[in-house]
Symmetry: C2
Subunit: 462 residues, 2 copies
């Protein structure tokens, strides 16, 4: 009886029904001996390839001369225990068919390529071991994020991408428009945005938090998971113009509850990766970051410490260590400070809380001291900040005052103030940059290598 | 012993630990008698509100005079079986605290408001029965979409939002830029896009399909689920400038396999909604679309019929019915044709396949007749088209020729052609507009009412 295609991860598990198997995939390597050809076939369902053993007597074998690296092939045959080391099963082919040939120009030959070269062929790097593993982990953790929140009764909300709120957070915004770019309608020497598609000036969102707060003030516990944007011309290994963020928001929560959720969330994701992506994580541990699995395991089991910003500054000042930037109360913590705190001071993950109000956003709740706000950053060894959050200012008058101090006209966010005008409630939330998390979990050190088709200054290819 | 907050859906289930309960939420209605006040409290965890019974002797009751509709309240008390009809449990308050007052200006008073008015307070309509139900279903079905694909071994890929491909599909694109809008750099009288952020002209994606194909040609089975955009100035109840799409893509699949996946997918989502959103669906069935639950149940159990486009045209022509647009071979099917086919001809859901190539996109696989392509539209009663898909053209020369015919320079999508140059494979996929599905499942008739904060011509508020 003919069966449909069996995925290679299932074939390699050996748990398949009796009878001939049909597998399809792309050739990673071909090795020929006098009587046999060995083809390593990969279909992206797992890291490992399945070895196909082809007898040169096989009808249609002649065709297999155009069986180069990169070719797409289907093979039907018997799954048998493999005599070769490192693979439990191999397929003895009865039938072999090349669906799509690949010649010697195929850009992904067997030799190891540098990541920079692979970025230039982002549509093909997916067929390499490293990027296969990266994007399997990305998919698994995306699902884990939804599972985590849905299991806890959080509502998922897709907040808007195009926004007219120009004060959502820090960072430059991309403009979105359909006006004639060379000769836009003008009014008093400026562009007349009232004639644009949305009737006002719009850009790409830098955060879904403000809209998330509206949802939390109706559904209590919500989360967003969507793309966000920064038009910053910074060509670093940690910045992209387009990236995905997760932003939970909880009504009736204070800063302590916010920290608890953040710790549970990170630990859940580490454990999920360890349980569900073990083959790919082993690969990263071997070839990308030694000790990765141990790092994830210890974060999954760690106790998160807590330190106020004021105490953190004292610790840094008392450390006797020379930093590039001197730690001074009132200045933001630098990456070197954050890593020192987690790696040397508490030797593990921690929350730094209660930052000076002047270095934090207007919507963070003012503490009773009048100087600090109920903000938290979650710092982890080797990376520094991985999550930033806060309790939100729920008092109408205080919020309006903070907006004025930040140079934002309260009227421009009237709807946001309405949430405090009627039925206001304490609430808190945080944001996690998904790619930062992926870099942590895979050990990849360039954000361009954990995004399917990264967008950075000068690059919107593919 | 003090417990944390209990969600109202759990309180209403009666399955709570013994002892006093703490609930928090927003007041829907207040009814006062001489000795008692009855407060309907809702926290968004379910449609139903919990009745809080407050004795006027309660300490702090005086405070409850500012307990109007919309106020945010916490109440602690005993959950007891309710003597009132239609609610199994109510809470006898020992303690009541107003967290956030709401005065008589609160825009969402008890009376029924029209949907158009509610759109003008999209940040508050979330606290109404209808929109509570809509966004709970939206969240549940978002998760169901991920579950469906992950259970079947499909990899989730987040395709880019900002794109330089200007031929992704039909429809006008929004421009994304950081150039000076009033005085952009010029070259030969045109805007010099090489000096823009990405070094070329970019816009917002209309589909993740092309990038999804690259992933399918490495991981075999993949899906996207993300925002897409149309800069069309059409103010209809079915069009939005920003909406979410689901686009699966399968290597080694033909059109028949594509149709099977589409039918399984729709039926899974209907069943998931029936099983997991029954309280909200009952509400829609009572107040929004009579017969909704039966409609969903019959789609979940239906056999999907199949009809070629050519046969569909014959059926329409032979029907003797007068249509606004005459059905003619070579023209696209109109909504009236689609509904007639599903409601009158096959009396259920169906796939129309093999459309004339000239009315379909360049990437659809050319059939052997040279005139039609392996496209499919899935039509359902009352709506018409809900899914569109195709087998993709995997032959390099045919695809390049089809691009030239469509006026697209093959070099402009060199990476897309590369997928056919090396290791090409048959593959197929489809797209489902998430909001169209939500309209079908909830019975809501305006797309603005199933999107958290809709973007339409002239409107990017909130």
């Amino acid at each position: 009886m003919t069966q449909g295609r069996t995925r290679i991860n299932r074939a390699l598990s050996g748990e398949v029904p009796p009878g001939p198997l049909l597998v399809k995939g792309w050739v990673r390597t071909v090795r020929r001996t006098k009587n046999l050809t060995f083809v390593a076939l990969n279909d992206g369902s797992c890291l490992e390839s399945l070895q196909i053993v082809v007898d040169t007597d096989l009808p249609g074998y002649a065709e297999s001369t155009n069986l180069g690296t990169g070719a797409c092939v289907e093979a039907r045959g018997e799954l048998v225990a493999s005599p070769a080391a490192g693979q439990p099963w191999e397929l003895h082919a009865h039938e072999l068919r090349v669906l799509g040939a690949a010649d010697a120009d195929y850009p992904l030959q067997k030799k190891r390529h540098g990541f920079e070269y692979l970025r230039s062929i982002a549509h093909l790097r997916l067929r390499s071991n490293t990027f296969g593993a990266v994007f399997r982990v990305r998919s698994a953790l995306s699902f884990a994020i939804h599972r985590f929140f849905q299991e806890r009764g959080f509502l998922y909300v897709q907040t808007p991408i195009i926004t007219a709120n120009d004060c959502e957070g820090a960072g430059e915004m991309f403009r979105v428009s359909t006006l004639d770019p060379i000769d836009p309608p003008r009014l008093d020497g400026a562009v007349d945005w009232t004639r644009d598609f949305f009737g006002e000036r719009t850009g790409l969102t830098v955060s879904g938090q403000l809209q998330g707060e509206a949802f939390a003030c109706a559904f209590s516990d919500i989360y967003t998971f969507g793309p966000t944007f920064r038009a910053e011309n910074s060509n670093t290994s940690r910045h992209a113009a387009e990236f995905w963020m997760i932003e939970p928001e909880m009504a009736f929560a204070d800063l302590a509850a916010d920290c608890r959720l953040a710790a549970d969330f990170i630990q859940y994701l580490c454990r999920y990766a360890l349980d569900n992506c073990s083959e790919d994580l082993k690969f990263f541990d071997n070839f990308v970051e030694k000790g990765l699995i141990e790092k994830l395991g210890s974060l999954a089991d760690a106790e998160f410490q807590q330190l106020t910003y004021t105490d953190a500054i004292k610790e840094l000042q008392a450390s006797g260590r020379t930093f590039e930037f001197s730690p001074v109360w009132g200045s933001d913590l630098q990456s070197e400070h954050e890593r020192f705190l987690s790696e040397q001071v508490v030797k593990g993950p921690l929350f730094v809380t209660d930052y000076p109000k002047d270095i934090k956003a207007f919507y963070m709740r003012l503490n009773d001291d009048g100087k600090t706000v109920a903000a938290m950053d979650c710092l982890v060894p080797r990376v520094g900040e991985i999550i930033g959050g806060s309790q939100r200012e729920e008092r109408l008058d205080v919020l309006a005052q903070r907006m004025r101090e930040a140079g934002i006209a309260p009227e421009s966010l009237g709807w946001f103030l309405d949430l405090r005008r009627w039925g206001t409630c304490p609430h808190a939330g945080f944001g996690l940059g998904f790619e930062r998390l992926l870099m942590y979990v895979t050990g990849m050190t360039n954000i361009r290598d954990v995004i399917p088709f990264p967008r950075t200054p000068g690059n919107a290819r593919f």
